[in-house]
Amino acid sequence: MRPLEAVRMALRTIRAQKLKSFFSLIGVLIGVTFLIAVVSIVQGMNRYMVERFANTLVGANTFELRQRPSITTGEVSDSVELEWRRRPRISYADADYVRARLTTPATFAKFCEDRVSVHYEGKVAKDIFLAGTDADYFAIRNYEITAGRAFTEQEVQTAQPVLVIGSELAEKLLPNVDPVGKTVQIGGLPYRVIGVVAKQGTLFGLSLDKFAVMPFSAQGRRLICPINILDALIVRTDNPTTMQRAMDETEALMRARRGLKPWQPNNFHFETAEGALGTWKKISRILFLALPGLVAISLVVGGIVIMNIMLMAVSERTREIGIRKALGARRRDILAQFVVESATLSGAGALLGIGFGLGLAFVVKAVTPLPAAVAPWSMLVGVALGVSVGIAAGVYPATRASRLDPIVALRAE
């Protein structure tokens, strides 16, 4: 018998018993659905974390010199927290020291941030992130100015009370007017809005457009940082190699400046996009480790179900087997027929599973801010697993079928 013949036969049988076939492949279907959906979601999450989360919070080719990590995920023990608090803070002088001595070309911005309320003609916008920083901050953050302009180095040096605001703040606080030129109050001090930043979108559903940026030297700086103290010195270079070099240099400069002995650990912290992903990477590794287990369990269950269905099929179709044998089917023909039938059944389950998995991934994509990144390899793995499970589950029933005595089989009801 030709191999294709067995597939054709199997498809004919499966088509004749659609509902039964569907139920028998549910296990495999669930397993592969799992595989595809989890891989898609984790990969989508991964991309989201890299592209949005890390790059939004820190940015590509950028590091922040800080007293302590600002992005922490998971538990921080009391002793670690205490050690962090004891560290000296980053001062203006630290920033200027590093800036003056760093040989790697880089862009710098002093940075301070806190949440404030912004007032305009009796209206108030709460929970606005107010950043005090340098003129280069806009370049470091890739902020595009849609109206007005960013502030200049000169305005920083002369501590001008000017403000560049996020698009959502502009819409909420200054609707239906041109925000540029309007004066708003922060902490009782007047600031002139000189520019609006293009919409940044959301992160985990939170708006990234509720912010305002002012020169770090402006009067209101005491609202966000003590005088002479910074949350961070932000440093950006052209590419990952120079960034690493700049970071190494900064580390050496800071250790020298603070007089740290070789055995003493750093009493400052570098925040990078990479570092911010640390915890997420741990989570996704766990998911990927757990995934084979989850998939394996449903595939084993699916395989057992298919084996039982095939055993039932063999006993139901004993007479058919007898007829085939009488007409010249050899053992291996019957074996092939049932193994292929089982593999086809299971393979169909895998294909349906891929469909369901993709569907699930796209539902997640539609109802959450997470993208779904479908991994082609996961589909190949899904089909391969499905077919393998089918073959494995089919061998025993098929062997039984192939060993039937044709005389006995022909007499079966």
């Binding site: 030709r2 007829i323 044998k325 007409l327 010249g328 089917a329 053992r331 023909d333 044709p406 005389i407």
Partner: protein
């Protein structure tokens, strides 16, 4: 005329627990090419065992069976399958068609196991169905056909590989008398065209269509004679 079947002292015994049952106790028989033989006998006479042995569905415990020049009584399962595929066309009392397959697909089945290519298969299956007068029922399934038509499909299936012998087991057992006559006419036509036909039956009026009747009793040949039909 040449001998197509030669059976020498063929015996088949079964064990049931400690007991031994002798279904055939040494049968010697020659059947020539283009003979039309009825094998008869009451139940328990060994005619079913004879049918299974002749059809290579079973192997004897003693004796020799030469089919078309080949000793087939000691062959392996797969070798027997090949012999069944090439040398024997079965027609059963209960038709034994695959219920979900069309007439054409049923008739193609022996060719599938013979490894014939799909296009050749179809041509040959159509020719076989036309030969039994069912050229217009190719795509019908067994449950859409009458009993007589089903048996014709089975005959077409038996013939499609041009076997040495057509082996029919009570071919009219499930048919009314009019349809039975019809099937007997098909057998007569095939025989007239040169086909060797062996028919196992317990009905003497059906056996009368054959030219030779072998009667078994208690696992032995009781009589072997020409029928009235052959004399006429």
């Amino acid at each position: 005329m040449s001998t197509i079947i030669r059976i020498l002292d063929l015996a088949r015994e079964y064990r049931m627990g400690d007991e031994r049952i002798y279904a055939l106790r040494g049968v010697t028989l020659d059947i020539r090419r283009n003979e039309y033989v009825a094998i008869m006998g009451p139940s328990g006479s060994g005619k079913s065992t004879m049918m299974n042995l002749l059809g290579c569905l079973d192997t004897p415990t003693a004796g020799e069976y030469w089919l078309n020049g080949e000793e087939v009584s000691r062959l392996s399962d797969d070798a027997l399958a090949r012999v069944r595929n090439r040398e024997i066309g079965f027609v059963f009392q209960t038709f034994n068609l695959l219920p979900r397959a069309t007439a054409l697909q049923n008739v193609e089945l022996p060719l599938v196991y013979a490894g014939v290519r799909a296009r050749d298969r179809r041509d040959r299956a159509v020719a076989a169905l036309e030969r039994v007068g069912l050229g217009h029922r190719l795509e019908h399934r067994p449950n859409e056909l009458s009993g007589g038509q089903r048996q014709r499909v089975a005959i077409a299936r038996a013939l499609v590989n041009q076997p040495s012998i057509l082996l029919a087991d009570e071919p009219t057992g499930n048919l009314d008398s009019v349809t039975s006559e019809e099937i007997m006419r098909v057998f007569a036509d095939l025989h007239a065209a040169g086909q060797t036909v062996i028919m196992v039956t317990h009905e003497s009026d059906i056996a009368a269509h054959a030219e030779r009747a072998v009667v078994l009793r208690d696992g032995r040949v009781e009589s072997d004679r020409l029928t009235r039909g052959a004399a006429a």
